[in-house]
């Protein structure tokens, strides 16, 4: 009416109908949440780089085939590693700080067995490659390399001097740890992929290395370490002294070993334990003699425990001085040693104390390691500390030869062999494609600063979205432990000690599905978005939404005020705040 120079509102009082969505509160922000994909410590630790968080999630939901398919992206033998892997992953499991580590090994074993029981197979890549690759040695490294190369379409021929493939998995590991039908099952899947096996063929003898060189575009060498080390003590030439690997091979071939009633095993590694436990199964009285303390034994602690339960005796801080007896072994004279500079990081140097003693025995097994037999390998190979010297992907010099397994500088376990086979396969693939093989060329598949390759974590978006992969390993403090209740670790069923000492049956009782799903649910799925909904639910500003592409969640930066509640409440450390100047 009077004195009005402005258009008046059309409503009588302040009635608001415009959505506050016009108010872009994102401008308040000085830091923003970013979905990240950090490295779970288990995967970081796993030589094969398995997506443990992923397969645990799938197993927890009863999706075993998917879990199996996820594992075999990185490891063609889950039923084997589910039994024989020493599962360093569990030692790093964040759940150990919460209650107890997740029994990753048991879940993997179940998933591996699921694959075997359901006859799951792998389809080769449809892309066919013309190149031919020779794999020399059908142990875990060679088989793994052949698996990947075949998967990618190459023609693969495997040479091995033994009658059956598997290498030490068949001839070294006793069947109470790895039943032969499991091994055969896993290998038969590889056969179905169209691998050409030339068994009973020793390269360098039955076929020359030159011929291999000529006939194949690339060669992966993984023949293992077979030169037996020996002790420089008096009487070492006597009868009744056995080499560990040969002893285990005999037993694995189903032959009755020549074994006395009182067996002494010298060594502290896993093969010493294997020899001792096998000997117990032939009713021998067994003593393991090791020069350092029990805690410093390289053997796996669970193996030591089971050996002891089965009646194996231990003698620590002792070294043999003389093998007694006339022609055959009748006893051992030993000297007590002290350990110099032994501490948590150093195993300590044994020093003689001068105090000697004697034990009775009629068989002595030397489990003191094996070296690479250079005579079995091509001449152009160079060595470093008695191992084949290789580049980052196992390549030997500038040649078409690649190497893996026990002949290269890597810990001598099945899982490390698998890792080396995979690395070699990647190397050969790149070599044949004319791509560089420098250290950085593996970066897309590596987890942070780890040397291990993970295809599942770096290339698969199943089951979790993978965004903004970081180089950081998730630790317990990155998690929100409130969202995980406390539940005990599953109890692995073990056959009673007296029973197992009489048999070569698998000592572990296979878990049932319910135990496995329950255990898999204990997994924190560290560093991965499992779509739990916390970030969405706790956002006071309604800006966390389902990603339209089904890739977890997204934050609407138009409105996010940067409070960071989503980061705080993410159970798994899959979001972080990033300071930004926008």
């Amino acid at each position: 009416m009077k004195h009005i120079d402005q258009k008046v509102p059309t409503t009588l009082c302040a009635i608001s109908t415009t959505s506050s969505a016009v108010n872009k509160t994102g401008s308040w922000r000085f830091s923003r949440p970013v979905f990240i994909d950090s490295i779970p410590p288990c995967s970081y630790e796993c030589p094969a780089g398995e997506d443990v968080a992923g397969f645990m999630y799938l197993a927890a939901n009863g999706r075993f085939e998917e879990a199996w398919r996820l594992i075999i992206k990185d490891n063609p033998f889950p039923a084997i590693t589910g039994r024989v892997c020493f599962h360093g992953c569990e030692a790093k499991c964040n759940r150990a700080e919460h209650d107890e580590a997740v029994s990753i090994n048991s879940v993997e074993r179940y998933i591996g067995d699921y694959g075997l029981n359901h006859g799951l197979t792998v389809n080769n890549n449809s892309a066919k490659r013309g190149e031919k690759v020779a794999i020399v040695g059908a142990g875990p490294a060679g088989l793994t390399a052949s698996y990947y190369l075949r998967l990618w379409g190459y023609h693969v021929t495997i040479f091995d001097s033994s009658a059956l493939p598997g290498g030490l998995m068949r001839y070294g590991i006793p069947s109470y740890r790895l039943p032969k039908e499991i091994l055969d099952g896993e290998i038969s899947r590889l056969r179905q992929m169209g691998l050409n096996f030339k068994m009973g063929t020793t390269v360098g003898k039955d076929i020359s290395w030159n011929k291999i060189d000529r006939q194949f575009d690339a060669v992966f060498v993984a023949i293992g370490a077979h030169r037996e080390a020996t002790l420089k003590v008096k009487g070492i030439e006597k009868k009744g002294i056995l080499n560990a690997l040969r002893f285990l091979r005999e037993v694995n071939l189903g032959r009755q070993p020549v074994l006395g009633k009182r067996v002494a095993v010298i060594g502290g590694g896993n093969s010493a334990i294997d020899c001792a436990r096998v000997s117990r199964r032939f009713d021998a009285n067994v003593t393991i003699i090791y020069r350092r303390r029990e805690a410093k034994m390289p053997a796996n602690a669970e193996e030591i425990k089971m050996a002891r339960e089965e009646g194996v005796q231990f003698l620590f801080q002792a070294v043999p001085l003389e093998v007694c007896g006339n022609e055959t072994v009748a006893g051992l004279r030993l000297q007590k040693v002290a350990l110099k500079n032994a501490n948590s990081s150093d195993r300590g140097q044994p020093v003689p104390t001068g105090e000697t003693f004697y034990i009775d025995c009629d068989t002595l097994i030397l489990a003191i390691g094996e070296d690479v037999n250079k005579e079995d390998l091509p001449r152009h190979i160079t060595y470093k500390r008695n191992r084949v010297e290789t580049g980052h992907m196992g390549r030997i010099g500038d040649s078409k030869f690649f190497a893996g397994g026990d002949i290269i500088d890597t810990p001598r376990t099945v899982t490390h062999a698998i890792a080396s086979g995979k690395r070699g396969a990647v190397g050969i693939d790149r070599f044949l494609a004319g791509l560089p093989l420098g250290k950085s060329s593996l970066d897309p598949y590596r987890l942070g600063d780890s040397e291990n390759i993970s295809f599942s974590l770096t290339t698969s978006t199943v089951p979790f979205p993978k965004r903004n992969r970081t180089r950081e390993v998730v630790n317990y403090s990155n998690l929100n432990p409130f969202y995980f209740d406390r539940r005990p670790r599953m109890k692995t069923g073990i056959i009673p000690a007296e029973e197992r000492a009489r048999s070569f049956q698998d000592v572990v009782i296979s878990p049932i599905e319910e135990e496995v799903t329950t255990e898999a649910r204990r997994c924190f799925n560290c560093g991965s978005c499992t779509g739990c909904g916390n970030c969405y639910l706790f956002c006071p500003d309604l800006c966390v939404k389902n990603d339209p592409d089904g890739n977890g969640y997204t934050v609407d930066m138009d409105y996010c005020k940067g409070c960071g509640i989503c980061v705080q409440e993410c159970p798994r450390g899959a979001i972080k705040m990033e300071f930004v100047r926008e």
């Binding site: 109908t17 204990r522 799925n525 960071g564």
Partner: protein, 304 residues
Amino acid sequence: MYSLNQRFDNRDIPEEEYMTPGHVACAGCGAALSMRLALKGLGMPTALVIPASCWTVIPGLWPMTSMKVPLFHTAFEATGATISGLKAAYRKRGMDNICVVGWAGDGGTFDIGIQALSAAAERNEDVIYVCYDNEAYMNTGIQRSGGTPIGAWTSTTPAKNPKAVPKKDIEEIMLAHRIPYLATATAAYPGDLIAKFKKARTIKGMRFIHLLSACPAGWKMPENLSVEVMRLAVLSNIFPLYEVENSEIYRQTIIPEEIVPVERYVRLQGRFRHLSDHDIARYQEMIDQRFERLKERFDKTANA
């Protein structure tokens, strides 16, 4: 895509949103989050009445609003009465299905609004009264209220002379009115909060829901800790989560597996910075004693 090993199964949370982003609550505001979750539990049709409080400002300046439910801003002390009148109107118009909700802060509930609230409760009005309790007059700049805990700093209880008396026991005050339903809830436990609002909607008569609602600015703590601090209030028994039917049947809805010392809650917040270990020990005793009394009631129900 939900993980099964979570404490909460968020799949049951209604997806519908009754607020829009762009509201002007501070970053990390517990009150904004509480409203968002409460509306998910309430569903529609619902009408809201809000007295003077942070929530006067949060929906936004005219002509904006972040609300997808009708909202009337009433005077500070008038919530209990305004919702009574609104509900009566709907009843007379045959719209009794509209759930009328008063949404007031601790000042508007414990202090200035308690008279109208008490009267509405005594009349057993068919409304839901929600107190979102951030334990001080936050919108005016953190002055102490009847909901401020003992020992807390506020701008009217300086650290040298912090609040000397404990928080009013608003639950017992309300239960003395013999109301049909009372519940405590907090956004740190969304499933519990939503279930209580859902349940409240099905009950006739006065329903009172007390929400602990973290205020990073007023509690002097980082914004990202809002939910964490509300959770610790529950885990330390400072703010037990329970419901009471017919002012008689007490039921603790969230029973913490492990009780956290109040110190963990207190030490997260700058408003308690001046408290000595001795002060905290005394506070712990008070909390224990209060919970003991409540526990007797929980047990009585459990054993009945």
